[in-house]
Symmetry: D4
Subunit: 252 residues, 8 copies
């Protein structure tokens, strides 16, 4: 029962004041208009949903994909293993696995991509995390420029790619070990930089803590950080950011 | 000497190949077109510069403000003490101190503000950090809606303010102690959320570590984190983000 | 406007459906029935409110106490300094300071106390935190038995007090340094034990971390932990626990 | 020999003063009346004992269960593996394994359950820990309401379940990652909340540290914390708490 | 009432069985024969007691010393400030302050010292902690050889003192910064080494953590560690150790 | 060449001053009389040597044992796996494996054991570490009393064993989780207590850190700590301590 | 196109000013003269390149070695597994695996080695890291003296080797556990010491943190530290250091 | 008595064998040829000694300077306060204080400086630490090029200074906050880089830990790290390194 309907019933004496009062007190909040589910739906119109696969049983995952498949709805599964994919594929043959980003995607329609996100990594070992970010951003309708292995230890590599990075609306900087990539890029571009520390490294990297602290303490301006190895979080965040511009465009 | 000028001289035989080659090798990178200084200048056109006051001597600071004053250029000083202000004021009487955000501002012209940034805090003790973010965002031309003391321990306070938060283009969530505010907001709005952990709290908050970890580990999507107590960083980041939309607007 | 009043107006056509709907969507959540303010009020009926004084300005604090004073409402201020009290006292002469627990209390009526909470400390330096717990529990209507300086290093002291501890409905165990007190008590009594680690100690106590970890890792059953030095949290928690029994009593 | 018996013998001159004195000095403390074993026995009357299975050999475990089986005594084994169960089952065919909570239960009689404990989780991955808490509480005679996957990132899910949570006498809040669930619930209900941080998450969750710190630093009142992943500890604690009320009931 | 007395009364029918039983159940444990107070008393016979002064009020401390003074009993106060001493001295003029070890001693008789404890430090800044250890050991009747500033960075200094160290029954090794002194000594002598990490140092010494970890991880055999800066603990421990030998001596 | 021999040669003009000087400058320090090897030899006379097996190849280990076997010299191998033993046994059939303490021992003569070391554990899972301590102490000639599973959570178990513990010359207290055992024992006995934290536990025990900090911060006197899980270190330390007494005995 | 060539073309009017300007702005930085690649090339002339093998696929690695093999260029692969080597060997039969240092080397010419680097370890378990350092230094043309198992716990072993260590130009000190080796050596030699903490140890070594902190906090002068287990980093650093001297030699 | 003198006496029968033997066993190790004091003396010939002033009493410090003054020996005091200097100056008027590096120097002769050390800082707040490094290097005879405020956040500043940095024999990179400066420089120059993390920053810099971890985890080659804020350590280390070259020069 919608609020409107309830109030109408109160007015029409079809429901007692007491019952209406009680109902309102336990009203599910999603009906109040601001719950995420709603704009999620709006956001994903034509894009689809995202499923976190790690820790889910194969049976559970297959049912989820089957459900999306029946609704002809796009879906992106992150942190998926090859084994999970093999099982899902038996039920949903159209599902596609990307071993680099560890994602299972199921797409029924493809939207025109807009804008440009630059996804950069310090080393080649950071690529798995970067691909998760890139694939997520693409899934939500962004163009992505991949610029990998441009760590600051050989800074000429990074600078030779700077023109491409400069063109992007938003930058995702993925780095492990010392994690200085994000700060150096943020010092040179004038776009928001989302920094993703990775757990790549050894010794005193303490599972990504070194890169995390570097990025949080960057003296460069225009940089914010997501969790260690959280490529999806960065991909989603840049989508959120870029949509601000996209919405502007559409509004006009 | 600009690159263009140099090449013209090469063409006109006014400089030897050897000298030109040597000059190019040591060319300050700011002349190459992508260095931050440039777009900084572009960004701040009509806005002004930001000075980090903490640790600077009073004499040094007064000279900096005097220099801006002579150029009739806006300037915002962050982490400034009352003492620093008193000294600066003797030289630059137009400087204004804001004890809440610990900033010294000097403004010669005021720009029309656009957009809307919501700056929220969990408690009243987080307000100093929040004001640094708010004043920074305003300095760079954003409208700011302050929504303070809406921590999740009394979540009805937060939800009664949700309509205002929903209207913003971008949200800054400032919280210490458990730091759950950012995640809860990000779960409800569909705009980018920049989370600022503060060092407010006691016991096992370990100087802001508790709030920092909470924010980094948030399961909500569309959230990125800056350093503990880094209000300026958040204020700058949302400016970067919002400018994407603003630029779009202007371009059309 | 209360929900009841609103619905009555809808029924009586004194408010349009549209306005009523809009009002409900932004209704302060405290009116919906589950928000804390309500049962807070219920809980505190005749007990009063609690104010966290640390970090509040003297002016602010004095106004808060003045407001409670006018309403003849009990109030307990925690983490208050002697200086804050001196200022408040000028406006509210009935306010009383307790230097042991660092609380400012203002009481207009005294309720009969029920039940029994045992508040124990490992050493004499833990007493400030313990008193905060004890005074809080008393403020909310519990009897409190103080059993101080019974740390496990001289375990005969603890055991000679065990009969008193056994009689309590609930135990608060406050200890710094090694923090073993909570586990030893929990192993001997069959009542819930709320453990409060304190920052008392030196060297590798790391600001209370040692006691915190000890308490969290206790192999004894029936123990739960609050933040380091959080006497108020423990005092409130045992009140919550004890009220379960008290409510039972009243219901019959 | 009981104390009473000993004293009788002293009185009757059946034992020398010297021997009686010596005996008393080394008297096992469980006979002194306050040792846990006693009230344990009281508590468990009709409920049974709990065995921590992790790290025990299969042979050892089978003998323990055999012993309980012969005494027709209920027993709950926690942290048990499927392998341990298979082995135990050969000796004790009535033993039942619950793969969700990793428990092996052996029950000869079932008590009427009283009260109501709400066990909530932030995500689906926290369910194993939550089930350990729930099964423990049920084993000791509580009713349990399971409310899973109501993390604060989609807070409407939590609020739609709030009426059920409000009805409980006591709440167990189980969450990993950011761990904000416990604080949000404690801010809304007026019952004791036992918070269980879990090691679920990745990156900067540092094996559950993030959730642990969040819960310890919660600004909500009426919350206490047990060790990371310690579902049993929470289940036992709420039993201790609830028994206060239950005892009251019985007394009348 | 002593146990013996009680039993006699039971035998003589001067006390009822019921009362005797009740008395025994709450009997202070110090009467049972194994409590520390007893052998403390034995240990200190002729030596005196130790008082931890830090955090005690001047009034409290003065009363404690006055009490010992009246009983003509030796007492050693550790972690005492000059201010505390000045106040105590007004009441107890015989009290003596040692600014190096921060101790206030009051001695009425002096015992012959036996054995030999070598107290070594890495640097001159570690001397305060070392003196606390040395003065404690002397207070309890040991001879002490002070060997200061023999850190491993100039290992020839340590080795030139090795003959003295070799002669000791027991070694206390006090060091901050890298804290390697304890391990090197333990590798060369064949006596027990008690290691005391100090908080001396800067940067990544993290308040003594670096020295603590070094000492705990020493590959040398025959070394055990006390808390950071805990000179008293080391002084007491070596006394405990040395008494084993001393007792042997006396027994023969 | 011994120093004495060298000097004789100098005196007899059999060696030039220059050569003697050069020789002295590079003289191996073991010849100077204080190196550990010497008293090691003294200590082990009739006891044997200790080998740390972990990380050694099977071939290497077999050769070591073969060498001891040929010399008819006792040897104790710690941290040895079953696999290592099987391999060693092929070459040295007299070697004996103890799966509890993970040691391989080879004994050709057995010495009369003297004194008494009490080795106590908090739980059954700590027994492996405790056995390493016990077997080491026995190997070096001590009597050992094993008192296991007497953790403070059920403190009556510990106290019923206190008479045995009191009789020991020295106590080794082995505990994981909260690790309070060592402090409680040290508060009751008047003998040196060597505390061994173990990595047993889960959640916030952080690999033994919780027990380590508890033990270091114990307010009980007469306690010192070795590395996490370092049973051998404790066994060796108590041997060092006890030998002080033993030497005394022999000297007389 | 080189800068020189470009300028010539500008002069000769073969390229427009506009095109030249554009070209210069995006010029790969390695051409500007200071990029590492250049002096890398210089450094490695006749030495070869280094490849980090860990995490690389076998196919990828084989192609890299094939490429070097075709160019007859020396290459050193670090952190290589036996499996990686077996695969590479099929394509490049001249590749040689060193199981101690986990390196795959391919050498076409051997340079005369100069200077002397002493590589020392505390224990035998540190040898893998030490060999990585030694093999790296040899690859870049240094003589290496291996001095293993000279930890400070038996310091006579270290001192008996001191004459060899003294002769070296530079020392690499590799140690785990307490990590005191580096400080002791630095206190005795007057050459730069590069310290390498290793993750060898157990308990409170926390993956090498103990040795790392020891080395950073060393009070000895002339010591600097690389990452935990980073043998390659140390080997490269000493090469950098030694080349200063070598270049001097060559220059004359 | 020197070794040579002793041996001569032995030869001449002026000392008994027994006395000579005894003397040699306790001989100060500095005479044995490898002890640091010797090359210290060599190193400092004409340079002087270094005194760590922090924590020394004014009286103590004045005496030390007086002693050097009498011997006409150069001395450099580090970590000295203005107050310490004022006191020293009363006794030794020639002493000079440098408030930037917090050093007190006393120089009687000035040596020609050789080589070139580049000392770089990320920000202006790092200058105090950098100056300690620079002044130390100069004291030991190096030329120093100061290149301050070239942090990676505005990387064009660093690169415009690269030619100067390239010219140096050795680089000291001083940086707080993110600490990326060292890695970026090491990636561009081919000289040894000594990295000094500073405690400058706020929030999650944790007293310099962030910069320390960044520097240790740098993927650039040819970098080693000293303790947080340890400018002296870096200045001494580069002196050690540079002397290798200098010695070479002199030898020829």
């Amino acid at each position: 029962m919608e609020i409107h309907e309830l109030l109408q019933k109160v007015k029409d004496n079809e429901i007692s004041l007491q019952d209406a009062e009680k109902y309102l007190k336990t009203l599910p909040y999603e009906d109040l208009g601001f719950a995420k589910l709603d704009h999620h739906r709006a956001l994903r119109s034509g894009f689809g949903e995202v499923v976190y696969c790690a820790g889910k049983t194969q049976e559970h995952l297959a049912k989820i994909y089957e459900s999306f498949s029946k609704r002809k709805s796009n879906v992106l599964g992150t942190r998926a293993s090859q084994e999970q994919f093999e099982y899902v594929k038996q039920t949903v043959p159209d599902a596609v696995y990307d071993p680099l980003s560890h994602t299972i995607s199921l797409k029924f329609d493809e939207h025109e991509r807009v804008g440009m996100i630059a996804v950069c990594t310090g080393g080649t070992s950071d690529i798995a995390v970067a691909e998760e970010a890139a694939v997520t951003a693409e899934f939500f309708g962004s163009n992505v420029e991949r610029i990998y292995d441009v760590g600051v230890a050989g800074i000429h590599r990074l600078f030779s790619k700077m023109p491409e990075i400069q063109k992007a609306n938003c930058v995702v900087a993925v780095a492990g070990m010392e994690g200085a990539l994000a700060g150096v890029i943020a010092g040179v571009v004038d776009k928001p930089v989302i920094a993703v520390p990775t757990s790549i490294g050894y010794g005193a990297n303490f599972g990504g803590l070194s890169a995390l602290l570097t990025m949080l303490n960057s003296c460069a301006e225009g940089i914010a950080v997501v969790n260690i190895d959280n490529g999806f979080g960065a991909g989603y965040m840049v989508t959120q950011i870029y949509r601000l511009a996209a919405v502007k465009e559409k509004e006009i």
